[in-house]
């Protein structure tokens, strides 16, 4: 808890919720976007960006009060912050600490950049991408996203 208290200089510890640590520097806002947190959501959120880190040159930290992230939400984060660690906090204590895993299939996370793709129409489907070593492969139109994945986040 000492470590948390030190970080508290930047952002306060939380009683219950989720702390996402070791996010790639500068990606905190994208992490919030990827887990669906916008200005319209009700959670209390603390964000620290470009914090000095021993492991990484700079890291971001996100704290979300009163919300424990689901496994699927956690794994989406791996797309842009593969070194992130997730701490589920209960009564100021770390209840569970885990890393992130890149999922095999991403459903409704990124938008296909191909304007001719059926997933960009009014059909009742979510976008669906297969995660491959060289990028994301649209399972509808076979388009590949090989760079700048964050700009395609839904």
């Amino acid at each position: 808890m000492k470590r948390d208290a030190r970080e508290g200089l930047l952002i306060s510890p939380i009683r219950n919720g989720t702390v996402i640590d070791h996010i790639t520097g500068g990606e905190a806002l994208n992490v919030l976007k990827i887990i669906g947190i916008t200005g319209a959501t009700t959670e209390s959120i603390s964000v620290a960006t470009n914090v000095k880190s021993g492991k990484m040159a700079k890291k971001d930290i996100v704290k979300i009060e009163n919300r424990e992230l689901m496994k699927e939400e956690v794994n989406r984060i791996a797309l842009i912050a593969p070194n992130a660690s997730i701490n589920i906090i209960r009564n100021y204590e770390v209840f569970v600490k885990k890393g992130v895993e890149i999922p095999h299939i991403l459903v409704g996370v990124v938008q296909c950049p191909n304007p001719g793709c059926i997933s960009n129409t009014n059909e009742p489907i979510d976008s669906k991408f297969e995660v491959l070593p060289k990028g994301l492969h649209c399972l509808y139109c076979d388009w590949m996203i090989t760079r700048d994945i964050t700009s395609h986040l839904i």
């Binding site: 001719g116 793709c117 059926i118 059909e123 489907i125 399972l139 139109c141 076979d142």
Partner: protein, 297 residues
């Protein structure tokens, strides 16, 4: 469910089985009542002559019945119905759906909502597996596909038939020679993937450089709408035209294929030469589509 959406979903063994079956069918070894009492729904949301008619003919030759839309304007799609709903409804009317749609991935979506098999008859710039199967079938009528040397000529950027054929030929260890105007080259994503799979791809600007060492010349249409004006189109199109003069010093067994319709890419005088196989290729659509219907129904 036994859908046929993309040539990439089929293994070499499955492709060989379909081609073998098409070959048996063409030798009149098939049951002409096999699909008696079965109904095929043809949902064509884009114009088509060959594909639509050959699926209808294939179904009729197997004893079945085909039903379909006459136009999108006459369908509920014009009222704003989603493709997903159309597919769910038509699944209740027919035993198999053949779909052509302007959006890429439409057939994949259809397969998710259909309760009967779906065959992709072309989805935008995407896949058109029955065309690829009949291309392969036509090659195999003349020679073994294994290790064949194929020239892909024309618009290789937007031409879906060339993309699908390139993927399929890579399963057979073919060497691909690409000949396309600047800006219409085979997309690097496809070329890289094929090279990673071990396929040799050699790029050329001029077909005369390579014509003498080809077994197959696969010609695709250069679409006028890809060019800013008619003058620039004609300049490019004329330099990619197949003429009798081009074919004076070629291998005896060379075959020239084209998915049709052709415009200016092949001089009509080539039709009389023994190399011209594009009309035969088009006719092969019947046995190949019969084999596909037998497989899924």
């Amino acid at each position: 469910m036994n859908h046929i959406i993309s040539i990439r979903d089929l293994s070499r063994n499955e492709i060989d089985q379909l081609i073998d079956e098409a070959s048996r069918i063409q030798s009149s070894r098939f049951n002409d009542q096999l699909l008696k009492g079965k109904i095929l729904a043809l949902l064509f949301f884009e114009p088509s002559t060959r594909t639509r008619m050959s699926f209808e003919a294939a179904m009729a030759r197997l004893g079945g019945t085909a039903i379909g839309l006459d136009s999108v304007e006459a369908s509920s799609m014009a009222k704003g119905e989603t493709l997903a709903d159309t597919i769910r409804v038509v699944s209740g009317y027919a035993d198999t759906i053949v779909l052509r749609h302007p959006k890429e991935g439409a057939a994949r979506l259809a397969s998710e909502f259909a309760s009967v098999p779906v065959i992709n008859a072309g989805d935008g710039a995407g896949q058109h597996p029955s065309q690829t199967l009949l291309d392969l079938y036509t090659i195999r009528q003349s020679m073994a596909i294994e290790g064949v040397s194929v020239g892909l000529l024309g618009d290789l950027r937007y031409g879906r038939t060339a993309h699908s054929l390139a993927y399929a030929l890579s399963l057979y260890g073919a060497t691909l020679h690409t000949i396309s105007p600047k800006g219409l080259e085979l997309p690097s994503s496809i070329a890289d993937e094929l090279r990673e799979a071990g396929t040799e791809i050699v790029e050329h600007r001029d077909v005369s450089e390579i014509i003498g060492s080809l077994d197959v010349l696969y010609v695709t249409r250069i679409q006028r709408e890809r060019f800013p004006d008619s003058a620039s189109y004609f300049k490019v199109a004329s330099s990619y035209r197949v003429t009798p003069e081009l074919l004076t010093d070629v291998r005896d067994h060379l075959i020239v294929l084209h998915p049709l319709p052709r415009l200016d890419e092949i001089d009509p005088k080539v039709d009389q030469l023994p190399y011209a196989r594009y009309f035969e290729q088009s006719r092969n659509g019947i046995p190949v589509r019969m084999a596909m219907l037998q497989k899924v129904m």
